[in-house]
């Protein structure tokens, strides 16, 4: 039976910069084992919302709860503990260029676990193998392709067996095959490790393929204008904006 326990909850969250409001009064819940998609057009605040969820920015109003703890109001130690149990894959992979792939993946393990050096090496090989990069341990980020960098970034994000992994535009800059491979990998990780994935994307094929839940941010009204399974939103679009977005610009919306 699927566990539908809430793992992230946003309550009346308003975000922006200074006086400029990007999105207001956002309410949504991410359940355990979801692949939760943050959808919306360019400039609606998807990446800003991700920065909020990962603690890089603070909301102007409202609270974000992670596993029942008020992440927004928690002190820095509690926030740090929560973040250690989360993994993040940045748009470019954000690998440290002066380190090999093995050293990149080993870094969080050395920092936050008591594993022996041998076990760390074995775990690094396992994580790289999981993302299809077995044997690339001694390579530097500059020696691999963009898609491989993203996969290596994912291996690093998975190093500490996180409960939640955040993805910022995972398909950006990838060819369709690499993009599909990454989508399959994300689904595999979600199913086999039970990891909750929160994904910012506007790649239609990807969000319809992997998403199990999501929110749609609208730049015009500065609110969430749809929530639910992306495929359900495509079948029964609640408004014209969502319909246009999910059908790549078709305009014959009928309510």
């Amino acid at each position: 039976m699927k566990d539908t326990q809430a793992i992230i909850e946003a309550r009346h969250v308003t975000m922006g910069y200074g006086d400029y409001v990007l999105q207001k009064d956002m309410n949504f819940t991410v359940n355990k084992h979801d692949i939760f998609i943050i959808m919306g057009g360019s400039g609606c605040g998807k990446s800003s919302l991700l920065r909020l969820l990962t603690g890089l920015n603070q909301p102007l109003k409202g609270d974000i709860f992670v596993k029942g703890i008020n992440f927004t109001k928690a002190d820095s130690d509690v926030q740090k503990n929560i973040m250690i149990n989360n993994g993040i894959l940045y748009q470019s992979g954000a690998l440290f260029s002066s380190m090999t792939l093995a050293e990149n993946v080993a870094l969080p393990l050395q920092q936050y676990t008591d594993y022996s050096q041998q076990t760390i090496q074995e775990l690094v090989s396992l994580k790289l193998a999981l993302v299809g990069l077995a044997g690339f341990e001694s390579f530097y980020p500059s020696e691999i392709s963009g898609g491989m960098k993203k996969r290596a970034g994912l291996a690093r994000a998975l190093a500490l067996d996180p409960e939640i992994v955040y993805f910022d535009e995972p398909s950006a800059g990838l060819d369709p095959i690499s993009s599909k491979l990454l989508d399959d990998l994300m689904k595999n990780i979600n199913q086999s490790l039970g990891t909750t994935l929160v994904v910012v994307t506007h790649e239609l094929s990807s969000l319809l393929d992997i998403g199990t839940n999501g929110v749609f941010l609208d730049a015009e009204t500065k609110t969430i204008i749809a929530q639910g399974h992306p495929k359900d939103l495509l079948k029964n679009p609640p408004n014209e904006t969502v319909y246009e977005f999910l059908t790549r610009g078709k305009t014959e919306y009928v309510k």
Partner: protein, 370 residues
């Protein structure tokens, strides 16, 4: 680690019970893997009926065992493992891309020597081409055919001129002060403290002022040029300029180089004055030399030739710092590390070339008798 194992005839039986979270027992794992490699072992059987929660610390053991089994061509029986664990093992063992072969051989002495030689020749070639391009851009600048925005020129002039005044003033004042102190200790033994004024004046205006400003500007402005242009290289902004047909030398290098060449002699002038002020501070307040006497001796030591040689140094240093900063920025690689390397090289080579050229200018002055 709730794991036990035994070898039963040709079978290696591994029993997993209870929870596996952050479990680590290297010696136990080593013994298990040794048995898996044992020629007698023809089948690895996992019993995991009572397995509780687990994480990567268990997956890594099973992954290694399954890899050994695959490599040896023996059976790996894991039907009692949870479905997710088995699919995770399958995922880890799906090799979709083999790493390319790398040449890890250590090169011999001759090869290293040859590589250094080739790299040095290439670096000299790149440097000369860069200087040629800059000279071409300077030619276009003087004939007003250059692609340069005036706003860039004024912004750069502001960066390397007025914004550097405070730090140049402070350091030059301190250098004048130190020169006066050190000189005073020696001159006092002959009762000739008054010559501190001459010492500081000649020292500052002839060479120290220019060298101090050069070192400050190499660290402050040369480094900033290399970092800015290097980051633009990382962000492909230099590529964008090239594909638009806009010469990088005109658009990025010239405003920086020209403004620095203009600003440096003025900063040297300021440094000379502040250094003399620092010397006067020590002379008048600490060595009890009357202010009028001090300035009289300072003015006598102040030769126009010395002063102009100092300014000429400033002009040359401005050119050197601008060239080095921009050259290493343009030559920067395409990652964060490269920007750091470019910045370091810009500062180090600016200072090296400044010292080399100071030696050359001093020698030429000696030859022509000034």
């Amino acid at each position: 680690m709730n794991m036990s194992f035994e070898q039963k005839q040709s079978q290696l039986v591994v029993n997993l019970t209870g929870s596996f979270e952050r479990a680590d027992n290297p010696s136990m794992k080593e013994a298990l893997f040794r048995l898996a490699w044992d020629v007698q072992t023809q089948r690895i059987v996992i019993h995991a009926q009572t397995l509780g929660t687990w994480d990567s610390s268990l997956v890594v053991v099973l992954y290694t065992l399954k890899k050994i089994a695959l490599e040896r061509g023996i059976l790996f029986q894991s039907s009692t493992l949870p479905k997710q664990l088995n699919s995770l093992l399958d995922l880890a063992l799906t090799v979709d891309r083999k790493p390319p072969q790398r040449n890890d051989e250590t090169p011999d002495f001759l090869e290293v020597l040859g590589t250094i030689g080739i790299n040095t020749c290439q670096a000299i070639g790149r440097g000369l081409i860069f200087i040629r391009d800059v000279m071409g851009a300077l030619g276009r600048f003087f004939t007003k055919r250059v692609v340069m925005r005036s706003v860039d020129f004024w912004t750069e002039l502001d960066n390397c001129g007025p914004k550097a005044v405070l730090i140049v003033s402070l350091i030059s004042f301190m250098v004048g002060l130190i020169l006066a102190f050190v000189g005073a200790i020696q001159l006092k033994t002959f009762g000739a403290q008054i010559f501190v004024a001459s010492l500081v004046t000649i020292g500052m205006i002839r060479i120290m002022g220019a060298i101090m400003v050069g070192i400050i500007m190499a660290g402050r402005t040369g480094a900033s040029y290399a970092a800015t242009i290097g980051t633009m290289q990382v962000n492909e902004e230099l590529d964008a300029l090239k594909t638009m047909g806009i010469p990088v030398t005109d658009f990025l290098i010239l405003p920086r180089l020209v403004t620095l060449v203009i600003a440096m002699p003025i900063l040297v002038l300021l440094a000379d004055f502040m250094g003399m002020l620092g010397g006067a501070f020590v002379g008048v307040l600490l060595l009890d030399i009357p202010a009028g006497e001090y300035w009289k001796y300072a003015w006598e030591a102040f030769g126009l030739t010395n002063f102009l040689v100092g300014l000429f140094h400033g002009l040359v240093f401005g050119f050197v710092i601008g060239l080095c900063g921009c050259y290493y920025g343009v030559q920067c690689g395409r990652n964060a590390d490269s920007v750091g390397i470019a910045t370091t090289k810009a500062v180090v080579w600016s200072i090296v070339w400044m010292i080399v050229l100071t030696g050359l200018i001093t020698y030429l002055c000696e030859v022509i008798g000034i």
